[in-house]
């Protein structure tokens, strides 16, 4: 037994088998999310104490029906199991199956067995066997599969200890293969493979040959050896089909002896729910009802904690200023770091609420019905029913949304989905929207029910979706990519969502945001603070210059200090940058201060608010630190004396933020997912041009 290092366990299984529930039971809060080297798929790992002396590192691999991948997510499974030099190469494999779909689950199990890993079959949801009228002769099944089998119920925490005890004994497990592919398909052909690769199991060599294009990890030496083995593709395809049919034959024979279902006991809850949820009228009503509920909740539930966070960080800044010794370091803390962190924390309520809904809907099995309902419609726009989940996730953050598009197998559908996701209203736009709406739209009700501010927000969401759909149609007609549809989705059974799984999902997604996008936001806030509090000669001599200039006016100290502060800001580095772009943004109705915020929010939209806060904070010499909103409302145009954030400027800004591609994180992820700079550059320029034109038109009409 390995004593000095961790035992590596891979968790493999079909989607919807409760694999994640088992992972959560085994690892609890000892989870971390890493990246697979070279690619950005999340790698979920966690530590689990197997016994007194044995700890395991468990890797939760993406759900898959087969080792032969059809999507990028599934490629991970292949790579982890074939690449012996990867960190998570398993010492043993746990295959999670579900009691009701045992046949299809055994298909995957037979592939794992044939790779000759020490592997164990875990049959989940065993507590539902009686209700579903299923009986399994476990002892006979163990003999037939030459494997250990454990019955568990991950949700009810049954059988987990038995599984751990069995794992302790993993070195004694039988690693004989189940299927004899050589004899059943083409003995001569497979014998030549065996001779060429004596170091691997036959099935592994076969996979390396058939999946070359998905095996980027191969050493050049091995790669040459494999490509030398170049059977024609027709033959490979034929043999893969034969192999599939043969595996099911074996499984059918085994299950005939060991598995039975009493149909009378089975309930028809699925078909009754399906009739309603995929109905041609009710189905859509329910789906749009749920969408409305989600968006309402994001706005209603999140606004209170967001206001609290906003004022909390304003108070913290003030507290730091009054209590710490005066100096550059204190200014950095109070004007750079604290507002920077506040700018990250403020998103947590919205992201958490959105993923609470998405995780719940995925858990129940409802999402597959949405895919079914929407596929035909989405195809008219060049996307797939599977694009719905990324597009909804995009309302939280485009980064996880673009990653969620990995399970779309058709490249054109996936590319279009990725390209239009940044139009959906992500939560980084929400604080910008929220504050601008609060400034320019009256807090009144129309017809006594609809809140005007809420309606405006709703309108901006719809505008985002409309922009996504229109650009998808455009791309669908412009992009000439020929593809073959591999669309097959499983319609899983309906389940009550597990609170634990939903909770872990929400925590994971929120953490990914805070530590991913959050870093950029914090760093930029500090850079901005630096640029705003330093400058050239004029900046350094500000106090002297303004005092001399105003000496005839006999101003009191307070007014004089304000004048000095605003002179300083104007001649700080960032002030100069803002002035440089002022002519370009003037047609949209912005001044150089908004220009500064605009420059900084090209890194990430949410920085807009933080930047304005920093700018007005520096500009107000710190005497009247109110909330960001109060500071923005007080800002006036020095020439006209009008409020800076009037209706025309506000609308122009709202629309600019609705359309422009202002997020470095998204651009980086699009580059990685599409493996080309072409697509992110297209997004940046296309969306930027659209935003500029629309804003100029809006401002010209309204002012």
């Amino acid at each position: 037994m390995k004593s000095n290092s961790l035992l590596n366990i891979a968790l493999v299984g079909n989607p919807n088998t409760g694999k994640t529930s088992l992972f959560n039971q085994l690892t609890g809060l000892n989870q971390k999310v890493g990246n697979y080297p070279g690619i950005t798929v999340d790698k979920k790992q966690g530590k689990c104490k197997i016994s007194e002396h044995l700890t395991a590192e468990i890797t939760d691999l993406p759900g898959t029906y087969s080792i032969n991948p059809t999507t990028l997510d599934e490629t991970i499974v292949l790579e982890t199991l074939l690449n012996e030099s990867n960190d998570s190469y398993p010492d043993l494999v746990i295959v999670v199956a579900e009691v009701e779909n045992l046949k299809r689950n055994l298909f995957l199990f037979s592939q794992i067995k044939d790779l000759q890993f020490p592997s164990i079959l875990v049959i989940n949801m065993s507590d539902q066997m009686i209700r579903k009228g299923i009986t399994i002769d476990i002892e006979a099944l163990k003999r037939e599969l030459k494997s250990e089998i454990i019955l568990i119920s991950a949700r009810k925490n049954l059988g987990i200890d038995a599984l751990k005890r069995e794992i302790e004994n993993y070195e004694n497990w039988n690693t004989e293969p189940i299927a004899n592919i050589s004899e059943k398909i083409d003995t001569v052909f497979f014998e030549t493979i065996k001779t060429a690769f004596p170091e691997f199991s036959l099935y592994k060599s076969w996979l390396l040959i058939t999946q070359q294009k998905n095996c980027a990890f191969l050493s050049s030496e091995l790669y040459q050896k494999i490509t030398a083995f170049n059977p024609d593709s027709e033959k490979v395809k034929k043999y893969q089909h034969k192999e599939t049919i043969y595996r099911y034959q074996i499984i059918n024979e085994i299950l005939k002896k060991t598995y039975s279902v009493d149909k009378n006991e089975a309930t028809d809850l699925r078909s009754r729910l399906d009739k309603i949820l995929t109905h041609k009228i009710y189905g859509y009503i329910i789906f749009f009802g749920i969408l409305m509920l989600i968006f309402q909740s994001i706005f209603e539930w999140a606004s209170l904690p967001m206001d609290l966070i906003d004022s909390l960080f304003a108070n913290l800044s003030e507290l730091a200023k009054t209590n710490l010794p005066k100096g550059t370091f204190t200014n950095l803390i109070a004007e750079g770091v604290i507002p920077g962190i506040g700018g990250i924390v403020i998103f947590i309520p919205q992201i958490a609420i959105l993923f609470l809904f998405i995780a719940t809907l995925e858990e129940t099995g409802y999402m597959s019905r949405v895919v079914f309902l929407m596929d035909k419609i989405m195809r008219k726009f060049g996307m797939s029913g599977k694009s719905i989940i990324p597009l909804i996730s995009g309302t939280a953050c485009a980064i996880p949304a673009i990653m969620a598009s990995r399970n779309i197998s058709d490249w054109k559908e996936r590319l279009i989905t990725i390209l239009v996701i940044p139009f959906t209203t992500c939560s980084a736009r929400l604080p910008v929207y929220a504050i601008l709406i609060a400034l320019i739209i009256p807090d009144e009700r129309i017809f006594g029910i609809f809140n005007m501010q809420g309606l405006t927000l709703m309108g901006l969401y719809l505008l985002g979706f409309a922009a996504a759909i229109s650009s998808a149609i455009l791309l669908h007609n412009v992009l000439k990519i020929k593809t073959q549809s591999l669309f097959v989705i499983e319609m899983p059974n309906y389940k009550l969502p597990s609170l634990k799984n939903v909770f872990f999902e929400v925590v994971e997604k929120t953490k990914a945001f805070v530590f991913g996008a959050g870093k950029i936001i914090l760093a930029l806030s500090i850079i901005l603070w630096f640029l705003a509090s330093n400058g050239s000669e004029k900046f350094k001599n500000a106090t002297e210059f303004v005092t001399t200039q105003e000496s005839a006016n006999h101003l009191n100290d307070e007014v004089l200090n304000k004048k000095i502060a605003s002179y300083k800001l104007e001649h700080s580095y960032i002030g100069v940058m803002g002035k440089v772009i002022e002519p370009v943004i003037k047609p949209m109705g912005y001044d150089w201060k908004i220009g500064i915020a605009l420059i900084s929010s090209f890194a990430a939209r949410e920085v807009f608010i933080g930047a304005l806060a920093t700018i007005y904070n520096v500009g107000s010499d710190g005497e009247d630190v109110g909330t960001i909103k109060e500071r923005m409302a007080a800002e006036v145009d020095p020439i006209t004396g009008e409020k800076r954030f009037n209706f025309a400027t506000g609308m122009s800004l709202l629309l600019f933020y609705a359309f422009a591609m202002q997020c470095i994180g998204t651009l980086a992820i699009v580059k990685r997912e599409t493996k080309s700079w072409k697509w992110p550059i297209l997004q940046l320029t296309g969306m930027g041009a659209l935003a500029y034109i629309v804003s100029v038109i809006t401002y010209t009409i309204l002012s």
Partner: protein, 76 residues
Amino acid sequence: MGDTIANLKIGEIGIIQDFCLDAIPLNLLEMGCLPGKEVRLLQIAPLKDPLYIKVNGSHLAIRIETAKQINITKLR
């Protein structure tokens, strides 16, 4: 002769005969859609596509262009 999954009405059952290997994704086979297996049409999506079928114990949704490639004999 000439029936495919696309010709089934809701609730009808057929036996899969054969299909053109090039037109059918391997993953559909791997999910249990194999010659000789019973296939039942459970639902059709509102715009007539995709189809929701039960085959060999699996509940799947496939697009109509895939369904048209799978030859069956209807069971009466």
